[in-house]
Amino acid sequence: MRAMVYRGPYKVRVEDKDIPAIEHPNDAIVRVTLAAICGSDLHLYHGLMPDTRIGHTFGHEFIGVVERVGPSVQNLQVGDRVMVPFNIFCGSCWFCARGLYSNCHNVNPNATAVGGIYGYSHTTGGYDGGQSQYVRVPCADVGPAKIPDWMHDEDAVVLTDAAATGYFGAQLGEIAEGDTVVVLGAGPVGLVAAQSSWLMGAGRVIVVDHLQERLEKARTMAHAETIDYDEYDDVVVEMKKQTDYLGADVVIEAVGAEADGNFLQQVTGTKLKVQGGSPVALNWAIDGVRKGGTVSVVGAYGPIPNAVKFGDAMNKGLTLRMNQTPVKRQWPRMFEHVRNGHLTPREVVTHRFPLEDIAEAYHVFSSKLDGCIKPLIVPDAA
């Protein structure tokens, strides 16, 4: 089969690999029909995630068709069209039993602090991902769901992570009616977080970014006010001014470990790699939220420490809430919102690349060329 392969920082290509085998009785093998590159894949691509091995196939956002099932699989059949959450989870450990699917304890031997994720280094379990023609799907009776007939494939693939994470991020914010919500980052996660904030009763939603096409999307897709941080010497002051010096009731950090906006943090975090990425957005969130407010963090960070202003968070009495998204827990309610048109995940998609052009897709997305917001990967595009 053809698969995306990591060759070191800033280097990916497509290679021939063996089609994955059933390795556990509850495995399924899924033929991938559509995949996506996530902003967090760029952390791997830039060499920020420890234990990212050469030859690894990335990709934790994908949908496909069940090709084979292991002997204990009961809930899936060959030929089923499935959407697969980015989490690999057992469904039975202490954490899964309480709905914390992203914190599963039975699928990632390499770390206890994070659950299993497809194609996201050995720090999340050492599973090859879905930017390929076929992928091994463990715990097949637990993770995948059949794609509803009415659902568009591009909605389905965005729901496997980005959209679910945006929706989850708004929930973590514990938004109350009339709250002013600031969303940092107008990527796919931030855009859906902004849409979702309205569903939870926000009175005002402000999206902060600096890429014009993304800010435009925030205005049109998410009906949000926008702040272009490039226009201000200090965006935190602008956030305070726009909230009458209170600060936002809720800030959703939808950027993660490669945030722009501070040259020193960028250089130390993503170029020199002397800290685990660039936590600019996290610090803006802590500074920009009001005292006693809530910061929701759904931007992805690695395990290496960051220079975060924790003292201010303490002194302001903030509630900090965060997690990797337990995706499947979000789906039943999200499906209703997508069907009703309240959430429109596929609106974030801007580019579609054949798998053979994966190197180009990564560079375009990484460098934010050509207005790229969300690139999809089509494995069998001829």
Partner: protein, 193 residues
Amino acid sequence: MTQSDIPSAYVRDKRTPPPSREELRARIPGWGADLDPADRPSYPRLQYPSDTGAHWDFPERQPGGEGREHSIEHAFVTPVFGTAQPLSGLSGAIRRLAYARFSEGRLAHWVLLVVGDRVDAWEHHLRSFASGRPDVPATGLRTEFTRGGVRSRRGRSDVRHQLLDPVVVLGPWVAGVGGAVLGVRRLVRAVRG
């Protein structure tokens, strides 16, 4: 500044109340659909028992876990695990040390894994030079010309640090080639006496 100009933060209530429900519902599709926290799927945070579809109390153990590296914060190799890219070579030895000796709470664990990543990359780069498909410092660069590299970056503040990317990407390669040249030169001199 008059009394009425004093911003909300310094007085009891917000000066500007949020728009009414009717106004928001008219403007925003689905506004307030999840107003009640009980309608939000991750509320409350812990939901027990969660209906997951698992028909086991503990997953059957996947074969092949003997000797597989695992965090020492785990009691054992988990019953389900990835088998992609098993440990090998010098990078494998470094990574095995990281897992065997240091917990996730120790910076040494992560630093060793990062060192293992860089060694792994160079092990494969060197091997690739002997293959028909040598590695290059960066891939996908033709899109700089086909996807508007200059146009896309116009006016963007992140250009300042993106200017460092060529140094970050090429630096190790230049250092590697330089080191190799120096090494070969010394070897040749040593052989010649």
